[in-house]
């Protein structure tokens, strides 16, 4: 019966197109043929959906793997992995948020600092010219000021004789030079005797002091720019405390690199967030059946995200030993990492960092807890903003 063969070949996808059309027209016209077609589909689907019934037992699979010396690659999905997978975006957004917040903080602080300087320079009122003879005379009498007592307690209120025709010195930014209390802090207001030409403010003296003033202001402003944020890049070398018997199947290009961002909370006390690429040699057990247990050893390359607390014990401005505690998570588990180290400020805001650390990672597999540990040395550079 040709049509029956056609039905089978059609189900197997082996019927030529012209015969397919012919078959369809027959199916549409013939109820019995349609029923046969449904029967064939039912048998085919029943067989296809029964694949799971023919799976070998886990004991048989384990026996094959054991005799071939094949390690069963375990799909390790501990609770933390789910957490990480579920919150990866959140962590990413937190990281981006932290960086943005730091940037905004840095920029705004810097801007305000610059703004203050700018205001200082531009908003200094040009001292009102004063030719109050009586006042000056009385002041002269009362205070017996010498002429070189030019500046004063009152901020930015020098009184300049209107006979002075010299223009005020201009700095590079075309703003009027600021005269702050930093110049010569002495008590009393400056008063110029209009009758005494020699007592007129000597602008050239001010100009002469300009460089000193600018330097002082620079130093002053620079010290104010410290916003308590530092970044740190570290490379580490590690030794697993259990001797490694397997190598990682794949290592990230950034393996053993770590990046930290520290925020100074209070004096000598920093809080940090960090990301780090590292390997852990882990050993754990997989129970196949009641009397069969596999001991598994893996060396996964992991990305860990963590927070740190660092307490500094400065010996001097350049040398600062510290103690640190880091708590991190990755898709395997949770890491606790105490460490001690030292920073050495070698150039401006750059410091060398060396750390000795002990890392212990706790992880679960099939509701059992395991741990892996290692010690390591870190070498890095810290930059303070």
């Amino acid at each position: 019966m040709d049509y029956e063969d056609n039905l089978v070949q059609f189900i197997d996808g082996e019927l030529p197109e012209d015969r397919e059309r012919e078959l369809f027209s027959m199916i549409s016209a013939d109820d019995s043929l349609r029923a046969e077609y449904k029967s064939l589909l039912g048998i085919n689907n029943a067989i296809k959906s029964s694949a799971a019934y023919y799976s070998p037992s886990s004991e048989l699979k384990a026996a094959v793997y054991r005799d071939l010396n094949i390690s069963i690659p375990v799909k390790h999905v501990p609770a933390f992995a789910k957490f990480i997978q579920g919150t990866k975006l959140n962590l990413l957004s937190c990281g981006i948020g932290a960086v943005l917040a730091s940037t905004v903080f840095f920029v705004s602080t810097n801007f305000l600092s610059q703004g203050a300087k700018s205001d200082l320079a531009t908003q200094i009122p040009i001292p009102p010219l004063q030719n109050s003879e009586t006042q000056s005379n009385s002041n002269m009498k009362n205070n017996s000021l010498s002429y070189n007592k030019q500046i004063i307690k009152t901020k930015f209120q020098p009184k300049i004789n209107n006979s002075v025709n010299e223009s005020l010195p201009i700095n590079n930014n075309n703003s009027i030079i600021a005269i702050s209390e930093l110049i010569i802090p002495e008590n009393g207001n400056i008063i110029y005797d209009v009758n005494d030409k020699s007592k007129i403010i000597d602008i050239s003296d001010l100009t002469k002091n300009l460089n000193d003033l600018t330097e002082i202001q620079k130093e002053d402003n620079a010290s104010n720019e410290k916003i308590g944020i530092s970044v740190e890049a570290r490379w580490s070398t590690n030794w697993s405390l259990a001797r490694e018997t397997v190598k990682p199947s794949k290592i990230s290009d950034f393996n053993n690199l770590g990046f930290d961002m520290f925020f100074s909370i209070v004096d000598n006390f920093d809080f940090g967030i960090n990301i780090r690429q590292e390997t852990f040699f882990v050993k754990y057990e997989e129970k196949i059946s009641n009397n069969l247990k596999y001991k598994l050893e893996q060396n996964p390359n992991l990305t860990s995200y963590g927070i740190s607390i660092r307490k500094r014990y400065p010996i001097n401005d350049d040398l600062q030993p510290f103690g640190q505690m880091n708590l991190a998570i990755n898709k395997y588990g949770i890491i606790l990492r105490p460490s001690i180290g030292i920073t050495y400020n070698f150039y401006n805001d750059f410091s060398l960092v060396e750390t000795f650390e002990y890392s212990n990672m706790f992880f679960t597999h099939n509701q059992e807890w395991f741990s892996a540990s290692k010690i390591g040395l870190n070498f890095g550079i810290n930059y303070k903003f």
């Binding site: 019966m1 029956e4 063969d5 089978v8 070949q9 197997d12 082996e14 029923a35 046969e36 449904k38 029967s39 064939l40 039912g42 048998i43 085919n44 029943a46 067989i47 959906s49 029964s50 694949a51 799971a52 019934y53 023919y54 799976s55 070998p56 037992s57 048989l60 699979k61 026996a63 094959v64 793997y65 005799d67 071939l68 094949i70 390690s71 069963i72 690659p73 397997v246 199947s249 794949k250």
Partner: protein, 195 residues
């Protein structure tokens, strides 16, 4: 770990000769890919779960050794099926049990111990058992063609190589065996459809 699941057989076979853990991953992918199909074939041929376990186990060992020797395999499943056939024939020769194999009735309970027992599942199990009975009633040549085509999902070319027959011959056997099974099961299928 790379996504070895995306690799085809031809890419995975050379990896079996690599060091650990690459060869482990490659083998695991191949095993997961073909174990069910191979095991069902073992069950159909041996009609006995314990025998199936032994044959299945030996087939994978022979396959792995064959690859480790540096030899190449075009298609993994046909090779494994051929290996199973050879193992069974060898065993049958040794212990002269071929007739005994054929006398044993193939029960679904041989296939899996952890079958679900919901009503829907019960019907499905019953249907599968009926299919097994129908397949068992076929002549050997048709039975083999049917099993390899429907359960192992091999192409006519691959079946032809395994059975050492022409592709046309296999196509006819597959068509006829399928129609035979359908004829046997027709009354039951109608009953199932009415349910």
């Amino acid at each position: 770990m790379n996504n070895y699941n995306a690799y085809c057989d031809e890419e995975l076979i050379p990896l079996l000769r690599e060091d650990k853990p690459i060869c482990d991953y490659a083998f695991d992918v191949l095993f997961n890919r073909y174990s069910s199909k191979l095991f069902s074939y073992c069950l159909f041929l041996t009609r006995n779960r314990n025998e199936s376990d032994l044959v299945f186990h030996d087939a994978w060992l022979k396959f792995f050794d064959y690859i480790k020797l540096g030899k190449s395999v075009e298609k993994v499943l046909p090779f494994l099926i051929m290996t199973v056939k050879h193992i069974i024939v060898d065993k049958a020769r040794k212990i002269n049990r071929e007739n005994k194999f054929k006398q044993e009735l193939l029960n679904l309970s041989d296939f899996d111990t952890g079958l679900e027992t919901t009503n829907k599942q019960h019907d499905k199990n019953e249907m599968l058992e009926l299919i097994h009975i129908a397949v068992d009633s076929l002549d050997d040549v048709y039975k083999e063609a049917f099993i390899l085509k429907r359960y192992q999902e091999l192409s006519n070319d691959e079946i032809a190589k395994i059975c050492n027959e022409s592709v046309d011959c296999i196509r006819k056997r597959v068509t006829r065996s399928t129609n035979m099974v359908k004829k046997i099961l027709e009354p039951y299928i109608n009953e199932f459809n009415e349910k």
